[in-house]
Structures are given as C-alpha cells and as structure tokens.
Amino acid sequence: MVSEAEVWAALADIPDPEIPVISLVDLGVVRNVDVAENRVRVDFTPTFLGCPALEAMRDQMASRIRALGAEPEINVRLDDSWSTDRITPEGREKLRASGFAPPAPRVPEGPTLVELQTGAHRCPYCGSRKTRLENIFGPTPCRSVRYCTSCRQPFEQFKTI
C-alpha cells in the first residue's frame, strides 16, 4: 500500500504547467492527501478559476497516483481556501529567482489600485522598489506586468488573491 508521504513526494515532483519552476506542492494547491486501502483522495484547490492549467494539474496528479499503483480521486474544492499566501517560502524564492515577483501578502480589505500603482512592489531582478504598474493583467490570469525604473527591466508580478 502506498503511504501518504510517498503521495506528497510524487505530487511535489509535478511542475506547475504554466510556471514550471515551482511544483504543485510549492503552489499550495494540494490541501490534503488521504490514503485508504488502494484509494488516494487528494483535495485540490484551484488558483484562479479561469486558469487553463487546472485540468492539466488535475490530470497529472491522477496519473502520478496511478503510477504509484493506487486509484486516484481528485476532489476539487471550489471555495475561498486558496490564497497566494499559501505559496510556500521555497516556492516564493523559486519564483523570484526566475524573474517572477512573488505575491504581496493578502490583506483583509483586498488589493487596491492605489497600492498597485505605488512602488511597494520589489523588482525580482535588482530588488529596487522603484517599479510601476504597466498592466493589471498579464500572460495568465495570475500575473500583472510591472516595469522596474532602476534596472529598466519589465517583470511579471504575481497577483495577490
């Protein structure tokens, strides 16, 4: 029989389909793993609901679990329990090292335009806070586009949700 630890290790090996520098476990979308006999139930929380990678994540988790010789059940939780705060410290560092600015912490009142338009966000390349918002939206629903006026580098900023 497969152990929970083996399942977690297998899931930690699956790269995010859109940002392959971090794994699904780094991303914090795997909420619970439950092993009973030969069945493995994984509770999975989507990131952004419009994210096209959700199906790919679900399929990859199922196929890794089958490869361990167990029958997968991927339970998708459509609630508010995933936040960018759930990205692990290791995940944040991997993002930053690849040029994605990690998300700012969630605050109760939610993000504001003023906050996005001020320079509180740090450039992942040079660390400067002299950055400006170029576009609230970016190549995927989870990212904004910013520009660093210190090192003149555009970069992608993870949105806080």
Binding site: F48, L49, G50, C51, P52, L78, D79, D80, S81, W82, G110, P111, T112, L113, L116, E134, N135, I136, F137, G138, P139, T140, P141, V145, K159, I161
Partner: protein, 192 residues
C-alpha cells in the same frame, strides 16, 4: 440548494459566460496592446467563474457544466441584456465593463453572506478575482469620465443592466449560434 438559489447562480453564470465571450472579441483587435491582454484575461476569468457556478448547479441537477452552458436554447438563458450586445466601440465596451463590475460587486457581496457555505465560499473566491476587474474598470472610468461619448454610453447602457432576464436581444441568438456550433455538430453517438 433550493430552486431559487439555483436560478440566481444560473443568472450570474450566464452573465459571466456571455460577457466572457463578448470580451474575448477584443482579443487581437483592441485599440491598445495592453488592453488586448487585459480583455483576453478578463474574458478568461469570467468564463472560469461561469464554469464554477454551472458546476454547482449541474451537480444539483445531475448534469454537467457544459450541458448547462451550451445545450439550452437561447431563450432559456438568464443573462441580462447588457452582456449580450456585440459592442464595437471602445467607449461602450468600457461603459459596459464599468456598469457590469459595479452591479456584479453588489451581487457578490450578498452571495458571500449566503447560508450555504459552498455558495458563500465560491462567491468569496470569485470576488477576489473580480477585484482586479473592478480596478481595471475604475482606471478607465477615471480616464474617460469627462468624455461626452463615454457618459452618453453609460446612459445608454445603464437601463440594460436591469431590464429583465426573460426577453433577449437578437444578438444573443447570434452569439449562441457561434458559441455552440462545434458542440452541436458533434457526430451522433459521441460525447465531448
């Protein structure tokens, strides 16, 4: 989930699906490259919200989300007329975006207080994503608010937010034809 709750979720899901399609029509042709990216992303989000809402209702009715989204007749949709229009003017697109996001925000606030934890949870998640749409709409509102063409567009479209959900524009029928064409042409005996 009672029938009334299902109807409310369907209204919102239909709004988000149809608006998502309309927003996606700017992909590739928006007046600014940044808006091309923005409207494509907003469209993607809206359709994702529609899917999640359809999934909740579909489970209650032993159906799939796709069946709810695409296998009803156009007159069975519950969307508001404002989302149905094929808008080719930028000022009208922004006016609709602003009006819709404002109305959607107050609807989501109510839904977040639902007694049903699944409905409340999903509404809270959708609302966190919509916050970025609202910021985008606000940014454009601030930029265009003195423009006559924009204020005229707001006046023209505002009544369509709340003009009933039983009657639809011919444009919904046209969109439905496009939206369901591939699905309706599936060979007999096959399933998606």
């Amino acid at each position: 989930m009672n029938e009334q709750e299902q109807q409310l979720l369907l209204e919102i899901a239909d709004d988000e699906l149809i608006l998502g399609w309309r927003d996606s029509e700017w992909t590739g042709i928006a007046p600014l490259l940044e808006e091309d990216v923005a409207f494509s992303s907003i469209a993607q989000n809206e359709i994702g919200h529609a899917r999640a809402l359809y999934e909740l209702v579909a489970r209650e009715r032993s159906m799939t989300a796709d069946e709810l989204a695409f296998d009803r007749r156009p007159d069975e949709y519950r969307c508001a007329r404002i989302v149905e229009l094929r808008l080719l003017d930028w000022e009208k697109t922004i006016a609709r975006h602003y009006l819709y996001e404002e109305a959607d925000a107050s609807r989501l606030e109510q839904l977040k207080r639902s007694d049903d934890p699944e409905i409340a949870g999903l509404a809270a998640k959708i609302d966190r994503e919509e916050a970025y749409h609202r910021m985008h709409a606000q940014m454009w509102f601030d930029r265009l608010q003195g423009e006559l063409r924009f204020t005229a567009a707001l006046e023209e479209l505002r009544p369509l937010l709340d003009s009933g959900r039983d009657e639809h524009t011919p444009e919904l029928g046209e969109l439905w034809e496009e939206m369901t064409m591939v699905r309706r042409s599936q060979p007999a005996g096959t399933r998606w």
